[in-house]
């Protein structure tokens, strides 16, 4: 997965790091006594919102996988490393598939993946998870894909699934097409041709957008969801940064990037007409609403989610993604188990989620975090 986010609001992040670490250093000193005797079983409940509970036996933690959550992990790594000096974290953003592969070879303590484990992956994980354990999906990082555009005189563009599909498949070629005009009553649209931009590299952003289109375009997107762009026509650019800079530079253009790129490049994002009473804006809060309506896809301790791209809930932005951390429910490597649990306890905490919210991610809604908070202490 390659949803890159850039180093915007670095100063803000550093500020947050300093604040959180100063709070958590104090918490560390007192909590160590309790965790030393009883493992880290109490860490989930004992953690105050901003606290990091260090493991009794701290160990270097290895992770690999999704690059979508790369920046989120970076933020967490700094805060966590400052609080728990013995627990260095090393995360290698090699892509979701490769991350799961490394996890199933026992090379890393956890993997990050933008899609839930496939049954074959779960079977393979049993070789690594000792004592009858298996790999489980733990939702951790939320994100949204925003449809960015650059059209003079248009500032509140509204689109829906079929229209987006037609635009990116070159079935709609001018801005004043009746389909767009019908969604934007009272807006003067230019008659100029649409310059559509998509990703030239394989990308999880593309996969999420096309998953949304496949579900909601009423057959106008004739391709399956895929990391590789399949649409007809338009132009391509390398990485989210490339798409963002093309949309910024080229008049009458449209493209798709993650929220952080839309924000940092000052690009206008289209609202989506989902069938709710009014079009939904591309904001983190609206994306969290959609994630909250997701139904569980996993069973037992697996918390994989079924995202409802076709949601008609008021204020639910439909093009969202969730990155999972993947670990064993039972039989994690004993040396790193405590550190892993203390790290995940921090990342799902309100402070951890808020820290990445400042970087253009979507803090997960409490309906999801509550389940994760209950799950992490049970990992063994």
């Amino acid at each position: 997965m390659k949803l890159q986010r850039n180093g915007r609001t670095k100063a803000l992040a550093i500020g947050a790091v300093a604040l959180v670490s100063s709070l958590s250093l104090a918490a560390c000193g007192s909590d160590n006594n309790t965790t030393a005797s009883g493992g880290s079983s109490a860490s989930g409940g004992a953690a105050s919102p901003a606290a990091i509970t260090c493991a009794a036996k701290q160990a270097p933690l290895l992770g690999a996988g999704s690059s979508a959550q790369g920046d989120a992990i970076d933020v967490w790594k700094n805060t966590f490393g400052a609080a728990c000096s013995g627990s260095t974290l090393n995360y290698n953003p090699v892509g979701s598939g490769a991350g799961v592969q490394q996890f199933n070879q026992g090379k890393v303590a956890f993997a990050g993946s933008d899609s839930a484990l496939k049954p074959a992956d779960v079977t393979a994980s049993q070789a690594v998870c000792a004592g009858g354990g298996k790999g489980v999906d733990i939702p951790m990082v939320g994100g949204l894909v925003s449809i960015v555009y650059n059209v003079d005189g248009v500032s509140n563009l509204v689109l829906d699934g079929p229209t987006i599909a037609k635009i990116f498949d070159s079935k709609i070629t001018t801005w004043n097409d009746p389909a767009i005009a019908a969604l934007n009553p009272g807006v003067t649209l230019p008659s100029s041709p649409i310059q559509a931009f998509h990703r030239s590299d394989d990308s999880g952003t593309t996969q999420n957008l096309t998953a949304y289109l496949a579900k909601t375009s009423a057959g106008n997107w004739a391709y399956p969801s895929s990391k590789t762009w399949a649409g007809h026509g338009g132009q391509s650019a390398n990485l989210s940064a490339g798409v963002a800079s093309q949309v910024k530079a080229v008049k009458d253009s449209i493209g798709y990037v993650e929220l952080s790129y839309a924000q940092s490049n000052n690009l206008k994002s289209a609202s989506i007409n989902t069938g709710a009473s009014k079009p939904v804006e591309a904001t983190a809060a609206n994306a969290a609403t959609t994630i909250a309506t997701a139904t569980p896809a996993g069973t037992g301790s697996d918390l994989a989610l079924n995202l409802d791209y076709a949601t008609k809930t008021e204020g639910a932005y439909p093009i969202v993604l969730v990155t999972y951390e993947i670990a064993c429910d039972k039989g994690n490597a004993p040396a790193t188990l405590d550190t892993l649990k203390s790290f995940l306890t921090y990342t799902i905490s309100d402070a951890g989620q808020k820290a990445i919210g400042d970087k253009g991610y979507v803090p997960l809604p409490s309906s999801v975090t509550d389940k994760v908070k209950a799950l992490i202490p049970t990992l063994a």
């Binding site: 997965m1 390659k2 892509g95 598939g97 490769a98 100029s192 041709p193 310059q195 030239s200 590299d201 394989d202 990308s203 895929s226 990391k227 590789t228 399949a230 026509g233 338009g234 132009q235 391509s236 650019a237 390398n238 490339g242 093309q246 530079a249 080229v250 009458d252």
Partner: protein, 333 residues
């Protein structure tokens, strides 16, 4: 070294001077022969290792490909249900952009080389030559950024002009008005600028090698400077210029980052050179590798093998041309 020192000193004291000299020179000869032959063999081994590696990985990929590798347009090797990938678009894009680059760069490079070697006064020629060499040292990513941020916007005018007045040629007609010129034509222009210094530098050196007697003979027969260049310099330099052009073409075919930034890649094979789209081997590998699964990586290796073969063919072709032109260099040398 340490073992040979006592040997030679021992030889000097016991045997006749001629014998020791012979022994030393033979040992030196042998050492040098082994070193140089070893280097040559090492190069062959490296080439064979690369070819073998590419062949092995390609074999894995091609056995999974469910479509014709040579005629398929799309690139979707990681599709579990139906892995399909082909090199038609890539081959077309690589060769066309390389050809555009050659058409633009070779005449310009020859002219610059002649200017430096035969026209410019010494004071100007040397700094000018240095400047051209400096162009070769610019990293390709910088060319790419320059191409994307400067060349593409500034080619908009030329593109629409060509569409209006040369549109009847079919290849210079655009079907998508107003789109940024991120097409094979722009890529060719950028590649031409990138290979210009290599071709210029080599051609310049070749032109300087032209025997003074040839030039003076031509001038003495009443030739003007241009006629002298045409009859004495260019024929002598032709094999060198061809070699230089092939070096340049090699770089153009394999250029990665600059193309990845400038060319809007797509799996469309279009003869409209001014329409965005197409792709090249190296660009495709650069764009797809980081997210490719195991099958995808093998497929990219297969495309790399094709580029390897194309480069070999181009170089082989150049060798053939040079060999056929031997009479020129032979007669002159």
């Amino acid at each position: 070294m340490t073992s040979s020192t006592p040997d030679s000193s021992g030889g000097r004291t016991t045997t006749t001077p001629t014998g020791s000299l012979q022994g030393n020179s033979r040992r030196g000869d042998r050492l040098f022969f082994v070193a140089s032959a070893g280097s040559g063999i090492l190069l062959l081994v490296i080439m064979a290792a690369i070819a073998g590696f590419l062949l092995y990985r390609s074999g894995i990929a091609l056995s999974k490909d469910q479509t014709n590798f040579f005629t398929t347009f799309e690139w979707d090797p990681d599709n579990i249900l139906k892995p399909s990938f082909g090199i038609a678009v890539l081959t077309f894009g690589t060769i066309v952009s390389g050809c555009i680059a050659m058409v633009l760069a070779v005449p310009l490079a020859i002219a610059i080389a002649l200017f430096i070697s035969h026209y410019a006064p010494r004071k100007i020629a040397q700094p000018f030559a240095y400047l051209v060499d400096l162009l070769a040292a610019v990293p390709s990513i910088v060319y790419g950024l320059w191409g994307a941020l400067f060349l593409v916007p500034h080619l908009a005018g030329l593109t629409s002009w060509m569409n209006t007045y040369l549109g009847w040629t079919y290849i210079f007609r655009t079907t998508h008005q107003g789109a940024p010129a991120r097409n094979l034509f722009t890529t060719g222009i950028l590649l031409a600028i990138m290979i210009l210094p290599i071709i210029t530098a080599v051609s310049r050196e070749v032109f300087r090698q032209v025997p003074r007697s040839h030039e003076e003979a031509a001038l003495a027969l009443g030739a003007t400077r241009w006629e002298m260049i045409r009859t004495a310099v260019l024929p002598f330099g032709r094999p060198g210029v061809i070699s230089a052009s092939m070096l340049g073409l090699g770089r153009a075919l394999g250029e990665t980052m600059a193309v990845a930034i400038v060319l809007s890649s797509s799996n469309v094979l279009s003869l409209h050179l001014l329409d965005a789209g197409g792709g090249t081997f190296a660009q495709n590998i650069a764009l797809k590798y980081s997210e490719a699964g195991p099958a995808g990586k093998d497929a990219l290796m297969a495309s790399g093998l094709v580029l390897f073969v194309i480069t070999l063919l181009v170089n082989g072709g150049a060798r053939l041309i040079i060999a056929r032109r031997k009479e020129y260099s032979g007669a002159n040398a």
